[in-house]
Symmetry: C2
Subunit: 148 residues, 2 copies
Amino acid sequence: MAHQTETHDDWDDALVPEERGRTSRPEPAYPVEVALAAVAGRWTTLVLRKLMHGPHSFGSLRERLPEISAKVPTERLRVLERRGLVAHDRLAGFPVRTRYQLTPAGAALRPLLIELYRTGAALTAADAGGPPARTQAALSGRSGSPGK
Amino acid sequence: MAHQTETHDDWDDALVPEERGRTSRPEPAYPVEVALAAVAGRWTTLVLRKLMHGPHSFGSLRERLPEISAKVPTERLRVLERRGLVAHDRLAGFPVRTRYQLTPAGAALRPLLIELYRTGAALTAADAGGPPARTQAALSGRSGSPGK
DNA sequence: CGGAATCCTATCGGATACTG
DNA sequence: CAGTATCCGATAGGATTCCG
């Protein structure tokens, strides 16, 4: 394997397929950060999951998530809206009813939620199945030049 | 479609394939939360990405992530270790050198990182391509019984 | 070189109370 | 019913300093 003069920042094409992914800091435009920002925050994935089933009203969401406080769904929904992941409309008439639903962009988060579940389940299984994975013994003790 | 007496919490099998996924709060054992916890925190995904390429020393990591402060990588690495995602061994001898590398469990995060990038890139593209997605106009005005 | 300890600040999450 | 406004405690992140 050829190593260059200095940097061997070998960018993995699977992890960083584009040029804009080659950042050395967590800038907001970095795609991974964008996706994380979309699902970040307590209750966010649960709200999204509910909305994946279809539209929900404000109270309807709170019913399904009983332990959520008053402010949180408001905050979450507002952020999700600002990001274009959720939209709402008001069904006027009686006691005002608002309907929240995912936009196409929001619906696009579905594969990510599935992958999050899958990964988390796998990690949990690994926890129970095997030991803490102290791979120390598997490490080779090469003490060559530090490289840089 | 059969609806039961009260709850029509139709659980999407893709989103919630198992019984333990049927939670109404963000409990730590909920797989999605497990996965999110693994990649949560500033710089975490970047650290993981570096380690995906292979082992790194403490200083090596800081070199690659210049703007990271001293405490953060320590904290991140410790947390990742506690979760069994990273392991380290010390290459004794001269100025002590420590080698961090992913455990098999840590390497299992790779698909998630890829999916995060993919999703984030898609969201960004949607941002640039289309308007803020005020789908209000696209919402159908069904004013039937709220269901519950 | 590789950390641990300490301090400080910004932000988040939650509870409560009030408004449209 | 559907929010908004305010307060507050907990925590995360960053800088700095010191120790193995």
